[in-house]
């Protein structure tokens, strides 16, 4: 293990141990430094020096991180911590194997092309019958969570496309998981196979632009695919754009100026980690929310300091209680804004925040995705015209 970690030694040693990363949501909940970013780096250092052997408890603790990247945003040394966590997870999995639930996810992806164990032929069951799918070079990549768990997001997305006459392609039941979950849980071998499979599909269908509703898919296609493809000598020359940026660009002005009926109420926006901190997309979702007429109020922590919803990095799958307690911290911030809507731009965040809300037994705020709120303002205007 120590030998494998040598490639990461520069990052590991440069940690100042200043503990500014105490903001880590998993550490806030668990309270033990073996979970905290600085504690984990210290352990990596000791493993690197051959002074500690990684036992199964340590492996578990290491994977309690949601890889939200809040630690990276406060690190005074500027260590690329997100990469460090993902790379070291990969090394741990190479030596120790994946955690049980993560292994199940990989098995499901291998068989069903989605992590949820769902029948792959039902992947497009959400698709409205009247949807027109063309051979456009613009692909709508719905992703696994919107296809199987929060279908209303995928449905809203294609309805929004239809409303604005946006021509798009969609792979239907042929769509294959992007591999994000595998990459976040250190299972790179299978993830790389998915990369090859997806890129072949893009090539075959002459895709030029990929629109995602999922922040995880967005990060994966934007950052991981180019890196993996470069390593494998595969061309990856696609414009990857998140739905919020895409709609803002294609129809933002039409929503803001052309739609007379506006939504009423107050909304707060939860920055998905993979879209915000990992990819720097902060403004477009906010701009869209304001265009719908909703009053936008920020939570105590937002943008690059936003708290994680608690689901990412394989934590929801493997450590459900921890993920819900992190979700609770975030949801309470939303409640404190007195917002009617808690909006996000990621199906996985919506899924988890709704789960948290149900656990807390709260009515408000209503959790929705950007795609849904845009469709809602469209519907309001359609109704007003009638």
């Amino acid at each position: 293990m120590g030998f494998r970690l040598k490639a990461l030694s520069e990052e590991i040693i440069s940690c100042a141990q200043c503990n500014y990363c105490r903001v880590c949501p998993a550490y806030k909940i668990e309270g033990w430094e073996s979970i905290s970013p600085r504690g984990r780096i210290y352990l990596l250092k000791k493993i690197l020096e051959g002074k500690i052997y990684m036992d199964s408890n340590m492996v578990k603790d290491f994977f309690k991180c949601t890889v939200c990247g809040l630690c990276e945003s406060v690190c005074q040394v500027g260590i690329p911590l997100i990469n460090l966590w993902e790379n070291s997870r990969n090394l741990i999995v190479m030596e120790k194997g994946p955690l049980p639930t993560h292994k199940k996810i990989a098995t499901s992806i291998g068989v069903n092309r989605n992590p949820y164990g769902e029948d792959r032929s039902l992947r497009s069951s959400w698709l409205p019958d009247d949807t027109v799918i063309s051979n456009s070079s613009t692909l709508y990549f719905a992703g696994c969570t919107a296809s199987f768990r929060v279908k209303e997001i995928a449905e809203s997305t294609v309805r929004v496309f239809s409303h604005f006459d946006i021509d798009f392609n969609y792979f239907g039941s042929e769509e294959v998981c992007c591999g994000s979950t595998l990459m976040r849980t250190g299972q790179m071998e299978l993830a790389e196979k998915l990369v090859e499979k997806n890129v072949k599909m893009f090539e075959r269908n002459r895709i030029e632009r990929i629109v995602t509703t999922c922040a995880g898919c967005y990060k994966t296609f934007s950052f991981d695919y180019p890196e993996i493809c470069a390593k494998k000598g595969i061309d990856f020359d696609y414009e990857v754009i998140h739905l919020s940026s895409f709609i803002e660009r294609e129809a933002g002005r039409r929503i803001k100026e052309g739609m007379k009926a506006k939504l009423k109420g107050r909304a707060t926006y939860h920055d998905p980690c993979h879209l915000g901190r990992h990819a720097g997309v902060y403004d477009e979702p906010r701009s869209l929310i304001k265009a719908t007429g909703l009053e936008l109020v920020e939570m105590e922590h937002s943008r690059d300091k936003a708290l994680c919803c608690g689901a990412g990095g394989g934590v929801r799958a493997q450590f459900r209680d921890l993920s819900l307690r992190i979700g609770e911290m975030r949801f309470k911030e939303a409640v404190n804004t007195n917002a009617d809507y808690l909006l996000s731009a990621c199906p996985f965040c919506k899924l988890h925040l709704n789960h948290t809300k149900n656990m807390l037994g709260l009515e408000k705020p209503v959790v929705m995705d950007i795609a849904e709120i845009v469709l809602k303002v469209i519907d309001e205007n359609n109704n007003a015209e009638c």
Binding site: Q17, N19, G31, S34, V77
Partner: protein, 429 residues
């Protein structure tokens, strides 16, 4: 049943937050210092248990167990110091105060009452919402704790106007083997800067001030004398001097374009003052002196407190003696300057030992200029007499309250081989 098994059973019965796991114990047995392996071997030890008390009752229980089993007690805040103050030299009970982090701001008396694990910057953020502000706080405020800084002593942001932390405490509540004590005024000297060797701080009352907007001004000075003259010319809340090496590294790491000259940052409460170029940036950098680690990846740091009247001669001698890449920050208090010298290094290479010797040499140079190390911790306990003004009185007090030397042994009061070895190392540096 073995003694330690009985101990473990008792601990688990009393405290909800406990870890006996060897890896957790290892994690809690270090601070930010990285010593050359020869020194580390001598110092490195692992605590027997980590306990996270939630209240005063539990702290008292810890001390009861410590006495019953003759186990040392090591209090721990955020472990952001580099002097080994939280290293369990003789093993024992590591008391992590992170769960005792409650604080309350009293707007009428303009004070904050804080538990030891409260984070300075969280207090400041709450105070700001009420139109108040801390008078002084450490440059590691985003993570360092109230108990930690008080136990270490020293100066920080705001010290030019308000002095060190020792000048900014109204009252402490401490627990030792005799019970709970409330101390103030002259008695504070037995606890502030004593690294928990005389008792565990469980509550502090610290003064606040009305918030006034901070106006940073960055002046590129001709030399340090020029900076000292400027300092004397006005009422300054906080002042930091950066040498050209520091500015150069900062430009390199942050992509800034600050003139690579010696620079004095003065922060005033003058409402009419306009912020000068780069001043805001440098002011925000007050929390990030360890940023330079990126250049290392290791950093050898020396901190010495020099009387202001000797600062100029100390600094010029220091600059002459330093060869190779280095960076210096000087934080000003009312009577002292904390000269922080940082040398980028690499602990994986042989040069780390020689760089570390340079740090000792700087301490020695500081002593020659009537200065003293910023803190002693475990590594510099042989210099405690230089650091603590009334050492003999404090030592007598220690013997009275902790006759078995169980409260953070090896810190402040020298014990074992290490102080002798460090003394020799300092002599030959």
């Amino acid at each position: 049943m073995k003694v330690m098994d009985k101990f473990e059973m008792e601990v688990r019965r009393i405290f909800p937050y406990v870890s006996f796991h060897p890896v957790e114990r290892e994690i809690y047995s270090h601070d930010i210092s990285v010593m050359p392996s020869s020194i580390e071997k001598m110092v490195h030890n692992i605590c027997d248990v980590v306990i996270q008390p939630e209240n005063l009752y539990q702290v008292k229980e810890i001390l009861k167990l410590s006495k019953e089993y003759s186990l040392p007690v090591v209090p721990r805040g955020s472990a952001t110091s580099g002097y080994g103050g939280v290293i369990p030299y003789k093993g024992g009970i590591m008391v992590d105060f992170s769960r005792m982090d409650y604080f309350e701001i009293d707007e009428d008396s303009k004070t904050v009452v804080a538990e030891p694990g409260a984070i300075w910057w969280e207090i400041q953020e709450s105070a700001l919402k009420k139109g108040l502000s801390l008078r002084v706080y450490p440059t590691s405020a985003p993570s360092s704790t109230v108990g930690g800084w008080i136990a270490q002593g020293g100066i920080g942001v705001g010290s030019r106007m308000f002095g060190g932390i020792s000048d900014n405490i109204y009252e402490l509540k401490v627990v030792d083997y005799e019970g709970i004590k409330t101390v103030s005024k002259d008695h504070l000297k037995f606890y502030v800067g004593m690294e928990g060797t005389t008792g565990l701080i469980v509550k502090s009352i610290v003064p606040l001030m009305e918030y006034r907007e901070e106006k940073p001004e960055a002046v590129h000075v001709d030399d340090l004398n020029h900076a000292i003259t400027l300092l004397k010319s006005g009422t300054i809340y906080s002042a930091i001097f950066f040498d050209e090496g520091y500015i150069k590294l900062l430009n390199e790491l942050k992509g800034e374009n600050i003139p690579e000259r010696e620079t004095l940052l003065m922060v005033k409460f003058d409402e009419g003052l306009e912020a000068t170029p780069h001043a805001e940036f440098l002011w925000n950098e007050r929390f990030c002196p360890l940023r330079l680690k990126k250049k290392g990846p290791s950093l050898v740091i020396s901190e010495v407190l020099i009387p202001l009247e000797n600062l100029s001669t100390f600094y010029s001698t220091l600059k002459k003696s330093l060869k190779g890449e280095h960076a210096i920050q000087i934080h000003f208090s009312r009577e002292y300057a904390n000269v922080i010298t940082m040398i980028p290094s690499d602990e994986r290479e042989k040069r780390y030992i020689s760089d570390w010797k340079k740090a000792l040499k700087i301490v020695k140079l500081g002593l020659k200029h009537s200065g003293r190390p910023y803190s002693t911790g475990i590594y510099l306990s042989h210099l405690s007499k230089r650091v603590i003004e009334e050492y003999n009185e404090v030592e007598k007090f220690k013997k009275k309250v902790d006759p078995e030397n169980l409260l953070n042994p090896g810190k402040i009061f020298p014990m074992g081989k290490l102080p002798k070895i460090m003394k020799i190392a300092e002599m030959i540096s």
